[in-house]
């Protein structure tokens, strides 16, 4: 069995994997990226629409362009990558970790490293997760699978489409399918407001006159061999009004009903998972409950902007390099979710330096205030013109806000 030795192994070669590897290399660590597709780039490679890189590159790029820009840096730094390689297991062994992975070219490889960066991204929630009753015809796809089939393989999944879920992936696919000649009959959303960006509502739905049904649940998919239609039921005052159910005939259903961080490898390695994010618990250095294993990107929590993924991944790489050099935070304070905050990552801060926190709102609101309190004392207030659950927020906390706090100070972040 082939054996390799690196300071760090990065699992996943998408935006997060590449960015964290770049940072580690910059700090002088030896690092390798393991990627199961035949090339680096991750999910960006199938996101051929634009809207990426406004913050990172000050340009509006498509997914492949963004990925390639980062990939070029990886090549320039001669960071090795094992593509077409699937990680089987991560086994902690003393102060080393052994990553077992396999490819058809090399067979199984044993890679020994002291640090690991988890950057495996996320998977899509599917029909089984949300349990739409009905028959099991062909023609039901998750939006990401449909995106892959259209953009990379060049196949059209169907002709008459209904999209379930108004998240960005579903909206993007509404436009994509319209542009390849399908008729998208409706987008059905369970919440009373759309999950995706307004810009996408305008450019993916309104541009094509695709109706958006808010507060509606898909209560059945029917069709014997292939999808023949869906039954939609409105929700009023929190209850399903079955008398007002109606059917939309179609031959294709796309599901855009959420993303779940992909943490099976993490769990098997003993990493504890935070049920609020479905990603690992991490401290102020983005290190998980297993010393030396760090997490960043969608595997930690689902992001909406790849620019934030890259920023987070760079920090993870930097912290991992610190850890390899024996540097650990001396003191950490806990951060709690206050009013209207769904989760905050990481949930610990190091008061001796700047910390970047990412959080999600539970509410939709204009003219909101992000408030940080330390032991009930307001230390920071940020005006937010508009907040909604599908747009991740960030807040920076450092010595300015935290230096005075005691050993067990309680930090709380709220959205008011």
């Amino acid at each position: 069995m082939k054996n390799f030795n690196f300071d760090a192994v990065v699992i996943g070669g998408g935006a997060a994997g590449m960015a964290s590897a770049l940072e580690l290399k910059k700090r002088g660590s030896s690092v390798v990226i393991i990627e199961r597709e035949e090339e680096l780039g991750g999910i960006l490679m199938q996101c051929i629409h634009n809207g990426f890189g406004l913050i990172e590159f000050n340009e509006e790029l498509s997914g492949p362009e963004f990925a390639q820009r980062v990939h070029e840096q990886v090549e320039a730094q001669t960071i090795p990558s094992f593509c077409g390689t699937t990680v089987l297991d991560i086994r902690p062994e003393g102060d080393r970790k052994i990553v077992y992975c396999v490819s058809s070219r090399e067979g199984v490889m044993q890679i020994q490293a002291r640090a690991i960066i988890l950057a495996m991204g996320c998977r899509e929630r599917n029909r089984g997760n949300i349990r739409i009753p009905g028959s099991r015809p062909s023609g039901v796809f998750t939006a990401g699978l449909a995106q892959r089939l259209v953009n990379i393989e060049g196949y059209i999944p169907g002709k008459d489409v209904v999209i379930i879920g108004s998240g960005d992936i579903g909206l993007i696919m509404a436009r994509r399918l319209s542009w390849v000649g399908c008729k998208v009959h409706a987008v059905v959303e369970i919440l009373p407001y759309p999950s995706g960006l307004t810009r996408n509502i305008v450019q993916c739905l309104n541009d094509f006159n695709i109706p958006l049904y808010l507060s509606h649940l898909t209560t059945e998919i029917y069709g014997k061999d292939r999808v023949e239609g869906v039954e939609i039921t409105p929700i009023q005052n929190g209850a399903l009004v079955y008398e007002k159910s109606f059917r939309i005939p179609c031959d294709t259903v796309l599901l855009s009903v959420g993303l779940v961080p992909e943490n099976e490898l993490s769990r098997n390695a003993g990493v504890e998972i935070n049920p609020a994010t479905n990603g690992p618990w991490v401290d102020s250095t983005l290190m998980t409950s297993v010393p030396g294993i760090f997490a960043c990107g969608n595997v930690l929590h689902v992001h909406d902007l790849v620019d934030y993924v890259v920023e987070e991944a760079r920090r993870a790489g930097s912290f991992a390099a610190d850890w390899l050099a024996g540097k650990h935070p001396v003191r950490e304070l806990r951060v709690k979710t206050g009013a209207n905050v769904r989760y905050i990552n990481p949930s610990r801060v190091d008061p001796s330096r700047q910390n970047k926190l990412y959080l999600r709102s539970l509410i939709v609101k204009n003219d909101s205030v992000l408030e940080v309190k330390v032991d009930n004392r307001v230390v920071k207030q940020l005006k937010k013109a508009h907040i909604q659950p599908s747009e991740m927020l960030t807040v920076s906390l450092g010595p300015d806000e935290l230096a005075q706090s005691g050993m067990d100070a309680q930090i709380e972040v709220s959205l008011l």
């Binding site: 051929i48 498509s62 492949p64 990925a67 390639q68 990379i152 393989e153 960006l197 307004t198 541009d207």
Partner: protein, 139 residues
């Protein structure tokens, strides 16, 4: 386009607030906008009403599709997992009303490998002065 006196509703997408705008077309060049919190909203409304544009992204067929005869090992992996399309986009926002025409052109077009990121695939598409460029390098 409806003439003066007709109100149109539109959501501004310049920033995340998403102001709901009410627009009235006064002449071929003049419009009146209300509901915007800033000047960018008025600008957006003007463009959107008088000359709406969108960046168009699509894929083109590859002239040489992967050779599918290999069945084992490296060659098979290469042929099975190589992409079959090149992603392309307009270099700038493209006139909205001509998008269907542009898409027809793009789906008929075949791209020969290799291609570089940013390479012009179709210059001056449909005489608009806007190029269609490749989104990635493919060998």
């Amino acid at each position: 386009m409806p003439h003066g006196g007709h109100m149109q509703e539109m959501i501004c997408i310049t920033c995340p607030i998403g102001c709901h705008l009410s627009i009235e077309k006064i002449s071929d060049e003049e419009i009146s906008v209300t509901g915007n919190k800033c000047q960018r909203g008025a600008q957006y409304a003007r463009e959107e009403l008088l000359s709406p544009k969108r960046v168009v992204t699509a894929t083109c067929r590859l002239k040489q599709l992967s050779n599918q005869t290999a069945t084992v090992g490296q060659a098979a992996a290469d042929s099975l997992y190589k992409p079959r399309r090149v992603p392309v986009r307009t270099a700038k926002a493209f006139p909205k009303e001509r998008i269907p025409e542009l898409l027809t052109l793009l789906y008929q077009h075949e791209v020969s490998l290799p291609v570089e990121r940013g390479q012009v695939i179709i210059p001056d598409a449909l005489g608009t002065g806007i190029d269609v460029i490749a989104e990635r390098t493919m060998a």
